[in-house]
């Protein structure tokens, strides 16, 4: 990619992790795209918040449990991960139900810090309005 072309990219995840291929494909696109050094944000809303649930177990439905790969987002230089507060609440969930996802802060001697930020619907709308590109899964 040419120097200086840096776009604000937001990946929007709205669907439950299993049953359709959207969540897995969305995650793979984020991880592959991370190599292109864009200004990346990832948002989870609607049923997409289920993608980050802690303790997923897919043994009985015969598909790969890829949920642990979300914990690698920090390794792939993704630093802006948002979960919509209202979507969690509407599903009877709160932040304690989600996986602990951290990143190593290079500016703070590699200290592990939480990666996921809970934001409300209005703030997410504002973040969406600032993007160059929004990819919805």
């Amino acid at each position: 990619m040419a120097e200086g072309i840096k776009k604000k990219l937001l990946y929007v995840n709205r669907k439950a992790p299993y049953g359709t291929i959207y969540a897995l494909e969305g995650l793979e696109v984020v991880l592959v795209g991370a190599a292109f050094e864009q200004d990346v944000s990832v948002a989870f809303l609607d049923d997409g918040v289920f993608q980050l649930l802690d303790g997923q177990d897919t043994a009985d439905i015969g598909v790969k449990n890829f949920s642990r790969a979300y914990k690698a987002l920090g390794d792939f230089e993704v630093r802006k991960v948002y979960v919509e507060r209202e979507s969690l609440a509407e599903r009877g969930l709160d932040s304690a139900d989600l996986m602990q996802i951290t990143y190593e802060d290079e500016n703070d001697d590699g200290a592990e810090k939480p990666l996921v930020r809970l934001i409300d619907r209005r703030e997410l709308a504002h973040i969406m309005s600032e993007q160059d590109v929004i990819l919805s899964f």
Binding site: A35, N65, F66, R68, K71, D75
Partner: protein, 110 residues
Amino acid sequence: MAYQVGDVVAEADEEGYLQDISLWSEELAQAIAKSENVELSPEHWEVINFLRSYYAEYQIAPAVRILLKEMKKSFGPEKGDQKYLYSLFPYGPAKQACKIAGLPKPTGCI
């Protein structure tokens, strides 16, 4: 194509990645390496073992940057180096090392 080690026949795709990654063993890694014309040294195993432990934890192969960082941390700066990794795995630390380590084909570019 397929690899054979003793009684175990492990099917692979046309590029040589295992179809069933649960069949992987150190002997199978030797067989894959042989078909890649790579002779496995202890230095190769440092990379393979890291890839496998990362995959076991996250279910994906690490970003190359992470591989470099971990190699540097565990084995010294001269090993956390892209050139060094290519000297071990001429067809790319991700693509070729993942193949020998029995990981799925990485979705990234190297």
